[in-house]
Symmetry: C2
Amino acid sequence: MKPKPTSECPAAQEITSRIESVQLRMQAQGLDYYLCHDPANIFYLTNFSNFVHERPFIVLVPASGNLTFLMPKLEEPHVRTQSVGNIELLHYFEFPAPEGEMWFDRLQDILQPNHRVGVESLCPFAVVEAIPGERVATDIVDDVRMIKSEYEIGRIAYTCELLNQGHKLLLSEARPGQMPILMHKEVSTHLMQKLLMDNPNTNVLNSKFNAACQPPQMSHDPHNFGDLFATIVEGGPHVTVVQGLANGYGAELERTFFVGHVPEAAKKPFNDMLDARALAYDLAVPGACMSEVDRRVNDLLKSRGYAENLLHRTGHSFGVTDHEAPFLAEGYQHEVQPGMVFSIEPAIYLPGTGGFRFSDTVLITETGNLKLTDAPETLEDLTLDIAQMVETEND
Amino acid sequence: MKPKPTSECPAAQEITSRIESVQLRMQAQGLDYYLCHDPANIFYLTNFSNFVHERPFIVLVPASGNLTFLMPKLEEPHVRTQSVGNIELLHYFEFPAPEGEMWFDRLQDILQPNHRVGVESLCPFAVVEAIPGERVATDIVDDVRMIKSEYEIGRIAYTCELLNQGHKLLLSEARPGQMPILMHKEVSTHLMQKLLMDNPNTNVLNSKFNAACQPPQMSHDPHNFGDLFATIVEGGPHVTVVQGLANGYGAELERTFFVGHVPEAAKKPFNDMLDARALAYDLAVPGACMSEVDRRVNDLLKSRGYAENLLHRTGHSFGVTDHEAPFLAEGYQHEVQPGMVFSIEPAIYLPGTGGFRFSDTVLITETGNLKLTDAPETLEDLTLDIAQMVETEND
């Protein structure tokens, strides 16, 4: 059964239950406080997101009771307006500030030398150094984020619905000579407008959409968006990337497509990619080891002769970001569990021929997995008809 | 004399001279290596910028000789294409990866337990922990970045020229009932197109423009962009924000304006803000103490009765970001020097009346300072004529 998409803010109960999960893990690790600096973790625990420059925002989670939120004075009204749940607010005037009035002075009003404090492994060194007591690098909030609640699955499903529309629009704009940068503008503007119409309270600072398309001369190099004037051409493989954050929840949808015809050299790698993808869907089910999923998918691709043509792991996760842990990656020894949401995107990159990749946003269910994104999947459906394009242009 | 604007990539000599300045400071601090993780510092030393997700990019600066750049394999062609100067490339396959093949394993191919290594104070804890030898928190690259070269001043001057055009366009679009979100779309799209026409090699991943305008009901709260459907109204104060990064170099331009008439309650604070601003320009000259500049500006505003209406420092700096050190801020005991580039933006925020702020991007010269941005400055020029607006609409 498909989850029900929503773009609404979380209820207080949703936030409380996240904090309780964090506190349960803190107790197991004997922590008095957990310090969050990552804006994604702060958003997860408070529903607040805004500009972050050099002025630190810090959330302190005690072993029990309410969060304390330390912020620049400038932001206090926004934290009051946006945040969900009971939060103690604490501010510093500015960064930098005179002695005794810096952000770390306020931090030390709460954290004491006898406290054992958990911190994110990516927390800035200077923030870690400002903790007076014992510091333990442990990614508790990131760990809790790995399993999505029903509400969160609804939020991700909503983002996926937008991306489905965006991808359809992107493919409908594809024609020889078209510049992907113009398609990007049209699709991303459309998605942002749709989001704002669906939910006028959207936080645009936590929303963004990308809709890219790599023509065959660069699709073998997946992060290459360097030539802005490269155009769609006859043939392929072209690779699409439609991804983003809708009011704070991320997803992605990617396809390989052709214009008019499929070059001979592209047929086998396209089908081999589909085989690897089918295997990944078979393997990414509850109880599987993430490292093993990636290893077996890579082994299949290597056995078909692509050992030198792999550039990345099988998948990453989504949630309050568009790229996060856990990972379907060799060396990552964790268990696939219901409520996780992965990209599944094994890919082949052939210099001189192009790139072969589909990516979907996929929910792990109790019994298997469920694609939340939707776009054409067969070579036939992904070979666009040029005659049709011209017709559309003359409409 | 106004600096000559440029949007070109840096020459090898420019990059070499930055690295030499870093190495000179490293030698003074007895460091064998300096580790950069901040994408802005990496861009400054290599001209490379791209997507950064959870896969670390790390630049190691040795006490003498060429940089080593550690990156995910996926990005190696982009580092090769974009980077300027002689760089040793080192890659890891993926994050996460099997034991012995993680990014930190490669790091330890170079850094040894007997090395003394400098790191940025904002470097993630996990990266600092991966350094086998002695670690010293020291912001050497940030410190070198504070004084801009002639080339960099030209780059910032170019960004300022774009913002000048954007601000003019923004004011020309202002009329009662107009939604700032539509003005944002028009201005930011215009600036991005102009940038791409001026320099087709622009790195769009390191370019962005914002053009916001806060109507009086929210302009007392400077980071409040929460109500997307709030419109321009008769009267004021409205506060504009036109800022961005053009191919990697930042600047900003902000004004307070009125539509049709100036409410009585707005006249005195507008003039008091102008007085504080004039004082800041008098004080922000070579040899001044940054803390003192802010203190004296704040003292003037406090003496006029605004002690409770100050929300931020007098200024921050620009360069390869749009918000960075050094700061014109109480407690920041550093000397203003030629080649620094500050925002000068003392401001008054009156709930019920609105916000009063101008911000310009200002170069410190040998003898004083020079505004690189340009927009109207008098109450007369900033009180827009409604009759004129209607005429424009009927054009």
